[in-house]
């Protein structure tokens, strides 16, 4: 894992390790940002801002967690700010989602379609519930780690996870059978 070198910020910028830092964390952060905000262009902007903030304020990193976890915390804060701004835009996203699903329903229900449907359903969850799902199932964090990262108790994390999963089950059509205990429609890739 790339570490930001010691020295001035200008020196850090000019050094090779910044490039390495961006290369090693950029893609993973982008994927997490995409799941959090649901838009690739916005995700690129969010990751750009995250990495700039992280490199500029790297002295504040106290080594209490992995550096990726620390950078991801910055990303979470920026995503929250992004969603607060988005709340001011009023449009009928639910209608768009329904239309998309109906028009695509006749298509072959392949695995990519399930994944896209699940990701779209994620966007209907609240920011808090989406965060815990992504930290748990994308970042593979443990309950305690999620609690530290989001600043809530472990009990709240478990409760949010439980609620988020129940919501997803309601949002995903039954015929997809995504959450059946006898297996999934996906194959291991």
């Amino acid at each position: 894992m790339a570490e930001i070198p010691s020295g001035s910020a200008q020196k850090a910028v000019d050094s090779f390790d910044v490039q390495e830092f961006i290369d090693s964390h950029g893609d993973r952060l982008l994927r997490s940002a995409y799941l959090l905000c649901g838009d690739e262009t916005e995700a690129q902007d969010l990751v750009q801002e995250t990495l700039i903030q992280a490199i500029r304020s790297w002295r504040r990193f106290r080594g209490e967690s992995a550096i990726y976890t620390w950078v991801h915390g910055i990303l979470l804060n920026l995503c929250r700010r992004y969603h607060r701004k988005q709340k001011r835009l009023v449009y009928d996203e639910e209608l768009v989602l329904k239309e998309t699903f109906q028009s695509d329903h006749a298509q072959e229900m392949d695995q990519d379609f399930y994944a896209a449907r699940l990701t779209k359903a994620m966007q209907e969850l609240s920011q808090e519930h989406r965060e815990v799902l992504i930290l748990r199932y994308f970042e593979n964090m443990k309950i305690d780690e999620i609690a530290r990262q989001t600043g809530v108790s472990s009990g709240t994390v478990k409760s949010r996870l439980h609620y988020a999963v129940r919501c997803l089950e309601q949002l995903i059509p039954q015929e997809m059978n995504l959450f059946a205990s006898d297996g999934t429609n996906h194959k291991e890739s």
Partner: protein
């Protein structure tokens, strides 16, 4: 361990975060209980489905070269110090996150304002006031007057006297022409 306990601790059981004794008790319970076996299988299927969906939906994403360039170019530019408005915003953002600090700041403000008013009130002269009209200055002063009154009354064929003291304040004013010496005789209202 019963079914309720097992379901409550299922997330920790899956991530092997229970104590050794609890983990063993949970494993023992799930081997005997069909309902909990199904719950466990459903949780595992759910986690697998969500992880695969997230992976499929995001595997195509990578940080664009122009985003990387933007990051490096931004970092090479000198960082401008925050403006006064940004500082104010930052201050209120900190207060918003820490209600105890906000309460302390509010209390300090209240004490500051009330202390200033108290100081101004105590520093103001209590009686002497002056008004200027038609080239004449009129001074108003409060004069405390104490009067004693002897009261005689008959009680059991004896004359009893008492001294009653009354205090009052009268307002006196005297004026002077701005070009001449002040009048020596004050006028009592």
């Amino acid at each position: 361990m019963n079914c309720e306990d097992f379901n409550d601790r299922l997330p920790e059981f899956l991530e092997d975060a229970l104590s050794t004794a609890d983990q063993a008790a949970a494993r023992e319970h799930v081997q005997k209980c069909v309902a909990c076996q199904q719950a466990l299988a459903q949780q595992e299927a759910l986690a697998k489905t969500i992880r695969l969906s997230f992976h499929r939906e995001t595997q195509r994403l990578s940080l664009r070269p122009e985003t990387k360039r933007n990051i490096l170019n931004t970092l090479k530019r000198p960082e401008f110090p925050p403006t006064a408005w940004e500082n104010i915003q930052g201050f209120f953002a900190v207060l918003w996150r820490h209600p105890a600090w906000a309460g302390t700041v509010l209390l300090c403000l209240v004490l500051l304002v009330s202390g200033r008013r108290f100081y101004q009130d105590s520093a103001r002269p209590s009686s002497a006031q002056a008004t200027v009209k038609d080239n004449r200055i009129t001074y108003y002063i409060d004069i405390p007057i104490q009067t004693e009154m002897h009261v005689y009354r008959r009680q059991n064929n004896m004359v009893v006297d008492a001294v009653v003291t009354e205090s009052s304040v009268i307002e006196a004013s005297f004026s002077e022409n701005m070009r001449s010496s002040p009048s020596s005789q004050p006028r009592i209202n």
